[in-house]
Amino acid sequence: MLKDFLEGKPLRHPLHPMLVHFPIGLFLLSFFLDLASLAFPFVPNLVRGSFYAMLLGVITALLAAVPGFVDYTDIRSDHPAKRIATIHLMLNLIVVASLRNQFGRALPAACRSKNYRNAVDLLVRRHCALVCVQLSRRKPRLR
């Protein structure tokens, strides 16, 4: 019953691919706002906006993980997609874990104190995981 719901059977549309739009889009927005905050340090509230976008991204990522895991358990272990799905799962866990660690005050503080080298460093560490998400997006469609 719950499994059917998480697989999207009532909607006749899988739930996981619906929910993943949000973390992908919001992490990208957060990344671009961070870049903009470095390029235009005089524009206010970019860092705050990036933080809010990332927060909503993490919340929706955790939501998407639940039906995603149910879909994952349904792939037969001898199917070639299983390995891709495992990599997809691991990369996404790394992304969420690494982003969660960024919810400190380090980046806003670095931007305020105009310590841009430090800020760029934080940015890179914050977002290198995004590339992983994009790579892992090549997920299996066939079951």
Binding site: H13, G25, L26, N45, Y52, A53, L142
Partner: protein
């Protein structure tokens, strides 16, 4: 001309391009609505108003990029298939949603820099636009998951081989 079509179909990436690009408007516009609502509840102040504004812009830019890829995918569907009509509705809803968010953005340009909250008119447009884009995205998802449009488009031959090697009774081409 063929290279352009192949580019828009995502042949070079071995992954259809349209479903990649649509993540952005599909996340940004409902996201903008959430930011608008938070701003109405006095959360985030002007940062939230600005964030919503940037989200709408990012969504508009990506949706303009997604239009040609979607059109190319749609023209690849035979007209007698049920997915063709769904694709047509999907396109009309998307055009409406994009127009609504373009107007929405226009309403915000004047005061997003210092407004403490989002006003009623843009909020209403966000609600309408989000409803449209969710409906349209659902239709797009149905095309893939119910009618198999774009599924295994680039790997059909590989899957056929795997199925035949496994002794499956595969229908002829």
């Amino acid at each position: 001309m063929k290279w352009l079509l192949d580019f828009l179909k995502g042949t070079w990436l071995k992954h259809p391009l349209h479903p990649i690009l649509v993540h952005v408007p599909m996340a940004m516009w409902p996201g903008a609505l959430i930011f608008d609502l938070l701003s109405q509840w006095n959360i985030g102040g002007n940062a939230m108003v600005r964030l919503s504004f940037y989200a709408i812009i990012f969504g508009l830019v990506a949706s303009l990029l997604a239009v040609p890829t979607g059109l190319v995918d749609w023209t690849g569907i035979k007209k007698q298939k049920p997915a063709w009509k769904i694709g047509l509705y999907h396109m009309v809803l998307n055009l409406l949603a994009t127009a609504l968010f373009a107007v929405n953005l226009g309403l915000r340009v004047q005061d997003f820099r210092d407004a403490p909250t989002v006003s009623a008119a843009p909020l209403t447009l966000s609600i309408l636009g989000t409803a449209l884009v969710i409906g349209s995205a659902y239709l797009g998802g149905r095309m893939t998951y119910e009618y198999g449009i774009s599924v295994a488009r680039m790997s059909r031959k590989k899957w056929r081989k795997i199925a035949e090697a496994g002794g499956a009774n595969v229908p002829g081409q």
